[in-house]
Symmetry: C2
Subunit: 212 residues, 2 copies
């Protein structure tokens, strides 16, 4: 909005909380609520209210003293800084149970992640479909991914196939990978990667229980 470039490059800690805010703000928007205060957000998520204000202030002065934040403007502003106020063409490699669970979940589509193609190396799966999406052979990945300008790749393959699938993605201009395989991928510096390792999450849960 401002003419001056005031993108204060927000910290990763702030960015991950903005996603959380977005979750409860969207919920309240469905409930027809129009305004919200930092105190309510903090209470809901178990955070400090000053922290919420700092995070929200870092994306622009949307709040008004005594009033709070307007819900829809706030949601739009957060979606903008997170980069989800647009559509991301997404491909998925490895159509097992996990992939089917992801495809059934409508939250991705709502947040702009548009899954445009599925790939699998299992010949028995190639040619079948999940919903309205056909499963293609890995050999078709380069051409298909390039023609639909896919930028994000979801990796739901077994561990021993993950690196080669990631390499294939890297070669066709994918800019970010959401990796569910429990391996550490070697990727070019230009490609971002977020790992979802469920064993790690369970270990952290165990740690939190035993440390009490």
């Amino acid at each position: 909005m401002n003419p001056d470039e005031s993108e204060h490059r927000l910290s990763r800690a702030t960015a991950s909380r903005l996603s959380l805010y977005l979750r409860c703000l969207s919920m309240w928007q469905r409930d027809g609520i129009a305004r919200v205060s930092s105190g309510v957000i903090a209470e809901t998520l178990g955070l400090n209210d000053t922290q919420v204000r700092r995070d929200l202030a870092s994306i622009g002065s949307l709040g008004r003293p005594g009033i709070g934040y307007p819900l829809s403007e706030l949601i739009e502003a957060i979606r903008e800084v997170l980069g989800v106020n647009r559509s991301w063409k997404t491909i998925l490699v490895g159509v097992g149970n996990l992939a089917r669970a992801l495809l059934r979940y409508r939250g991705f589509q709502e947040q702009g992640f548009d899954i445009v193609a599925l790939f699998d190396s299992d010949p028995a799966k190639v040619g079948t479909a999940v919903g309205s999406l056909a499963i293609r052979a890995m050999t078709e990945l380069p051409k298909t991914a390039r023609t639909c300008h896919a930028e994000i790749g979801i990796l739901t393959v077994p561990a021993d196939f993950a690196q080669s699938a990631a390499d294939a993605m890297a070669e066709v201009g994918i800019r970010g990978i959401l990796n569910f395989a429990p391996v550490i991928l070697r990727l070019p510096e230009t490609i971002r990667c977020v790992n979802v390792d469920l064993t790690i999450q369970l270990e952290q849960l165990a740690f939190q229980i035993v440390r009490d």
Copy 2:
């Protein structure tokens, strides 16, 4: 090992990295490697080597100058502080595609997370089985969970059913919940919760791409 209580209560940041170390250490163990240095671990994971040494020093002086760390002792020590050098009786509620993906993945079992019972509210599923585990009705949860002393609950139900399923878990002595539903659960202070919200992970990926 020491007679004095030297549990220096490690930070959450350190704990989450210990899980990462465990991943690559286990990998190297399978490859038959016996020793490892902080530099190699740091390089593999894209971290600073001093940080790796600090983390490892915080769980005991296992390293030897000029030599490195003995792999198997290190793995055992990390598993101990994370609380995964034991078995955790685990129940799962909501047997959809995501649950089937988790059940097929053998990594949980290997790290000591022993899934002992499945529950679902869909009468069509109750009575059927996944692998060797029967799917039970939600009404059986209290008795079953108590008799097998379940301590961890995995929640893979649709969003609108998550809170009530979490309440049911809380009532039977579950100490920690791994929640895959995209909702913020209200839980007693005594119950730990780790949320795996896949939309949040995708948003963080988008953010990392656009911020470059």
